[in-house]
């Protein structure tokens, strides 16, 4: 049986602010991971990563991150590193959690 594909999103850091951004369905970027476009196959993931890599004027270091989809189909980080990136540091109320 083929291994089940873990859904992914494309994430990067913003060139100007350095904060975390996510590639959306419209081909733009959002600061909220829930807006990210979930990618359900490796081909789709590779294609969208390619799209992101061409947007160097906005996005630095795009890569694919594993997600889990909630009941509304919204993506949530699968790994704790991505969870921290989606929130901000734990020692101060700074970063995304403060927005």
């Amino acid at each position: 049986m083929a291994k089940q594909f873990t859904p992914k999103i494309v994430t990067a850091n913003d060139l100007f602010e350095g904060d975390v951004i996510y590639l959306t369905g419209e081909g733009g970027w959002s600061r909220d991971h829930r807006d990210a476009l979930p990618l359900n196959s490796q081909d789709e993931a590779d294609e969208l990563l390619g799209v992101a890599q061409k947007q160097a004027a906005r996005a630095v270091g795009p890569y694919l991150a594993d997600v889990a989809l909630d009941e509304h189909g919204k993506p949530h980080p699968a790994h704790f590193r991505e969870a921290f990136r989606s929130r901000g540091p734990s020692n101060y109320f700074h970063g995304k959690q403060a927005v």
Partner: protein, 555 residues
């Protein structure tokens, strides 16, 4: 304090101007990120988890009030009102915006500071004893030598692209507060049989992925030979060091693989050639530099008022016992300003706290401040008579935690709260340990105990040399912490030993609790420190307490 001459100032301003241009080119698309990244790193600008991070060099950890106030100003104007002091005696800003970095660097240049060579495969900021120039046990102030090395290594054409980064630490005291045995080159000031001051050169130490204790390359190097000798070491490393594998590129690996004797022979050979026509900084320059580090004019009038305050105020007494160290001048003392309030982020200071320390240094401390590799601030020259006043000001600023050298004086790297390389968080672990033992009110009874935490094997938090070391790992997508015991950063240097399997995040603080309780149970007397107990008993009693299950099965 060393003051820039026109050449230094011009060099730094020119670098800022260039970097502004490079930022513009990156934004316009003229530079790709791959092209821009090495350029920004050369200027101390990293991209971390949540934002850019700017690492500012504080040469050998020495500041004055003007510089400190400017660091506070930058924190307020372009960051979030605080800065993070690191184990490399630098300061890091966690939230700068790319388009502000040029202004920040110019603001630094206004006070003779910069962020050059805080990244990349070059000679990094030279670190030193934070009690330099004040310590009672010192042979000589190591900072003139550190400054000489800084000038020699800054923009050195041959050593900008070494196989890997290169760290040098220097101490002027037999009591090593600069961890010289864990640096690519460690320098200790020593005296030879004739009583002349010179250097012992230690090489090939380092922490990180492959921790190694530095080895003595030269037992006594006359002072005048220092730079040609260092040049020979660097040249030998630059030619022979591995460039095929990042993890094997440090000088420690070269020496480990090829042997110390071989490295010494090559270095000495290179030294013979270099010494003949060494074109680096001259003796004249060294003498000129030394002038900037003349000791302040001490006011030797002793006052006994402070002794009355010690008797009258137990909190002040407690502070005096832990955070005040003997000065070479009996009328003076060295004050450690703890950046480790229980539950606070180790090494962080708000802009207000920075200004308070600047004010105190200016008024009571001959305008000198140091950053320690243990992530505290130091007022190296405070008259004992002024200690009660200084203490009162520190209390008001939340800077008078009496815990220097105690359990809650924890080193913690930024870990996965900020650092892009991290495998787990460090800061919350430090916060929880400090809070836990503050509630128990036990740390003064426990006595000297150094806990050091790193968020990945790069070991910026020096966990290998913590009496208790904690390393954060990612084990199958869960934060896990590995404990080492018995490390020692001092002249009695030792690398800690792994005690057993790692602990998940919710069990690491209880595990530390178990270790400390075990120590209290088995120490022979209140005077026997944690490290002494560990050396006497080895790890067995701690293992037994930490892993009772396994020990039962094994029995």
């Amino acid at each position: 304090m060393y003051i820039y001459d026109d050449f230094d100032e011009g060099f730094v301003r020119e670098r800022v101007r260039q970097f502004r241009g490079q930022i513009e080119q990156r934004i316009s698309g003229a530079l790709t990120e791959d092209e821009f990244k090495p350029l920004r790193l050369m200027n101390g600008l990293y991209l971390q988890l949540h934002a850019y991070m700017l690492r500012v060099a504080i040469p050998y950890g020495t500041l004055d009030s003007q510089k400190m106030r400017q660091l506070a100003y930058i924190a307020d104007k372009w960051d979030k009102g605080y800065g993070h002091f690191t184990t490399r005696q630098n300061i890091q800003y966690n939230w700068p915006k790319l388009t502000d970095v040029g202004d920040i660097l110019d603001a630094l240049a206004d006070v003779d500071m910069h962020a050059i060579q805080t990244s990349g495969n070059c000679v990094r900021n030279v670190t030193s004893d934070h009690f330099a120039g004040a310590a009672a046990d010192e042979i000589e102030d190591p900072r003139p030598t550190a400054e000489l090395i800084r000038q020699w290594s800054t923009d050195h054409p041959e050593f900008q692209f070494l196989p890997r980064k290169f760290k040098i630490a220097i101490t002027g005291s037999p009591n090593d507060r600069a961890v010289t045995r864990a640096h690519d080159i460690g320098i200790r000031m020593v005296r030879n049989d004739a009583g002349e001051a010179g250097y012992e050169i230690i090489v090939g130490g380092g922490l990180g992925r492959t921790p190694m204790e530095g080895k003595v390359l030269r037992e006594f190097l006359p002072k005048a030979d220092l730079l040609p000798y260092l040049e020979a070491v660097l040249q030998t490393y630059n030619l022979a060091g591995r460039r095929d594998n990042k993890y094997k590129a440090r000088i420690k690996i070269l020496i480990h693989e090829g042997g110390l004797d071989d490295f010494r022979a090559r270095t000495e050979q290179a030294f013979e050639t270099i010494r003949k026509d060494f074109a680096g900084p001259s003796d004249e320059l060294a003498a000129n530099i030394a002038r900037y580090f003349e000791p302040p004019e001490f006011n030797n009038v002793r006052s006994h008022g402070f002794e009355k305050a010690l008797e009258a105020n137990p909190a002040f007494r407690s502070f005096f016992e832990t955070n005040v160290t003997e000065h070479r001048n009996p009328a003076y003392a060295i004050v450690t300003v703890s950046l480790k309030a229980h539950g606070a982020t180790p090494g962080d200071a708000t802009s207000d706290q920075m200004r308070t320390v600047a004010d105190i240094a200016e008024r009571y401390g001959h305008d000198e401040i140091r950053v320690s590799h243990e992530q505290n601030l130091i007022l190296p020259h405070v008259r004992k008579a002024d200690l009660p006043a200084v203490y009162a000001l520190l209390v008001d600023a939340g800077l008078a935690t009496a815990n220097a050298g105690l359990l809650s004086d924890i080193i913690a790297c930024p870990g996965m709260d900020y650092c892009a390389l991290a495998t787990a968080r460090s800061i919350p672990v430090a916060q929880e340990i400090a809070q836990r033992f503050d509630e128990l009110k036990l740390e003064h009874e426990i006595g000297p105990l150094k806990i050091k935490i790193s968020g990945c094997i790069n070991a910026c938090g020096h966990h290998h040399v913590g009496h208790i070391g904690i390393l954060g790992l990612d084990r199958a997508g869960v934060e896990n912490y590995q404990i080492t015991l018995g490390g020692d950063a001092s002249e009695a240097f030792a690398l800690g030993e792994r005690v057993g399997p790692s602990f998940p995040a919710d069990r690491i603080v209880p595990a530390i609790d178990t270790i400390v309780t075990t120590y209290l149970e088995i120490r022979e007397s209140e005077e026997e420190t944690f490290l002494e107990t560990y050396r006497r008993t080895g790890s067995a009693p701690f293992k037994q307490a930490l892993y009772p299950e396994e020990n039962r099965h094994a029995a």
